[in-house]
Amino acid sequence: MARYIARRLLLAIPVLIGASFLIFAMVFALPGDPIRALSGDRPLAPAVQQQLRDQYNLDDPLAVQYGKYVAGLVQGDFGTDFRGRPVSEIIQERLPVTMKLAFVALLFETVFGLTAGILAGIRRKSFFDSLVLLSTTLIVSIPVFVLGFLAQYFLGLRLGLFPIAGLNDGFRSYLLPGFVLAALSLAYVARLTRTSLVENLRNDYVRTAKAKGLTPMSIVGKHTLRNSLIPVVTFLGVDLGVLLSGAIVTEGIFNIPGLGRAVFDAVRSQEGAVVVGIVTLFVFVYIFFNLLVDILYAALDPRIRYE
């Protein structure tokens, strides 16, 4: 097991390096002026331009640029916005909000998704099962931002059930955006759990468990659940990527002052450096989280540990 963890760690490093290189290349190595790219259509005074050139080492050869870029990243330097404010400060300020939102979403999706999936899987082809399949298909078809607006309109404006914007109502403010953020993933988790459960219930070892005289609850709860959860767990790793991307849209629509909103605003105001900085952070968090998921996967499935 320790060897597996070590190997996974070693594999994550080139991915981190590769991803940072990709990001760097996208910003600085494409043809065209990176300063223009970072600033968009905003006109910059020559002095400011020169300052940016120094800051990003644009007069150095590409390799050196990359080296200094990585060095900066490691020290927590994610760039600055055009008023000179370090992105790391923005991150510090807004990260807790986004984390709370992501946590609410995660809670929604695991609790509701798993429950729906398990119930649908046990009672395959029942009314509940068809209901779950139908509603998940619908949810998956509606893009997050559409869902967000619809929720805002119907549940917030029309029915007045939830606050529709801002963080003014304390914890309640997180509910609607959290649910919208979770919706897509909830649908996946439910379907994945259901399919996985149905497949596992057909396995031979379930037949053996029955032949041993185990109770149905023991068979489903103990024997199949753990096996069925394996793909769900791995999904959650990918899901973080969806959550992070979705946070941009959701925080934007619901005006939640988190990191996602920061990206949302920065895209609109063409603050290229902020966009790059925060998205880079997201990417690193995503890679790291997937590493954790890999390890969790091995903990659940002993067959993987010995590869």
């Binding site: 080139p14 996208m26 994945l192 941009i248 849209v249």
Partner: protein, 330 residues
């Protein structure tokens, strides 16, 4: 290989777990003794594709999805059949944001006083083009790389695997935001080509993995060994034996992915980093609508409905295809 099995990486496109299909041999009628004294002998040719087609024809969801997609395809190719107006014809600012029913406009008017119905109908074109082009491109790249990587293995396989790992490190929307930001700068504009290119570059990996894993499981089968023993060349083996059997999961995923790409383009346009005005895209329309939800909700609803129905059709189609092609579910 220490990489995780494909079925555990659904990727951020709307799809259930990609199907990990076993290669299925085309079976011919009875394989037994020829001198069966029984009267009727069932010689139904049961190949994967003909069985699938038979099942599909009976599936109501499949037919529904096909019907919806047919309408949408015609709408994107010949929008004139659906509306006599162009999207920017007869725009009159005095009609700005008027609700449906005003002056007989089915969907009302948009911010600029243009007929909203025409705008929404014309929006189908962009979505369908991007959806099909991106998936087409990603499929070609994925199948090519997957075939080579799966069949020949070795250093090439490793290289491709590392590359996919790295790109997988960038979730689709996040990567697209970055790439589009700077691709636009490099090329000076953000049109269909730039958006399509971005999405292709970020989504070919799952196709590659699916195809590669099919190729690997098929190339070790007995009938491929038999073909090789009879002297078939590599390319003949790949083209004639491996590809037809390995394509099934790729096609299923591809169908569902079209829906995902359409949703992704809409999201990017909504965020302001995808297509730009005056392009006509449902995402852009929803973007413009967001400040007027209270006063003119119709601006939000119509493109939303069209967008959702389009994505839904592809997903239903993909689901139906998967149910028909997956031998395990029979």
């Amino acid at each position: 290989m220490s990489e995780r099995p494909v079925t555990s990486r659904p990727s951020d496109n709307p799809s259930d777990t990609p199907v990990a299909l076993d290669a299925r041999l085309p079976a011919t009628g009875t394989g037994r003794d020829a001198e069966l004294p029984q009267a009727e002998v069932d010689t139904r040719q049961a190949s994967l594709w003909s069985d699938a087609w038979r099942q599909l024809r009976r599936s109501k969801l499949f037919l529904l999805a096909c019907a919806m997609l047919a309408v949408l395809t015609v709408m994107s190719a010949f929008p004139q059949l659906f509306t006599s107006q162009g999207p920017i014809d007869n725009c009159d600012l005095s009609n700005s944001r008027q609700p449906p029913g005003t002056n007989g406009a089915w969907f009302g008017y948009d911010i600029f006083g243009c007929d909203y119905y025409a705008n929404v109908v014309y929006g189908a074109r962009v979505s369908m083009i991007i959806g099909l082009a991106v998936v087409g491109g990603a499929m070609i790249i994925g199948v090519l790389l997957g075939a080579l990587a799966g069949y020949y293995g070795g250093w090439f396989d490793n290289l491709v695997a590392r590359l996919t790992d790295i790109i997988y490190g960038l979730p689709l929307i996040l990567g697209a935001i970055l790439l589009l930001q700077f691709l636009a700068q490099a090329r000076g504009e953000r049109g269909l080509f730039e958006v399509s290119l971005t999405l292709v570059l970020l989504s070919w990996m799952t196709f590659m993995r699916l195809f590669r894993s099919s190729v690997i499981s098929i190339k070790d089968t007995d009938y491929v060994a038999a073909a090789r023993a009879m002297g078939a060349t590599d390319s003949r083996i790949i083209l004639k034996h491996i590809v037809p059997n390995a394509l099934a999961p790729v096609l299923v995923y591809g169908t569902i992915a079209v829906g995902g790409i359409i949703a992704a383009e809409a999201t990017l346009s909504f965020l302001g980093i995808g297509l730009q005005l005056p392009a006509i895209s449902w995402g852009l329309q929803i973007n413009s609508a967001q400040n007027y939800i209270r006063s003119s909700p119709h601006l939000l609803f119509f493109p939303s409905i069209f967008l959702s129905v389009t994505v839904l059709s592809f997903i239903l189609l993909g689901d139906a295809l998967r149910d028909a092609l997956d031998p395990k579910l029979r």
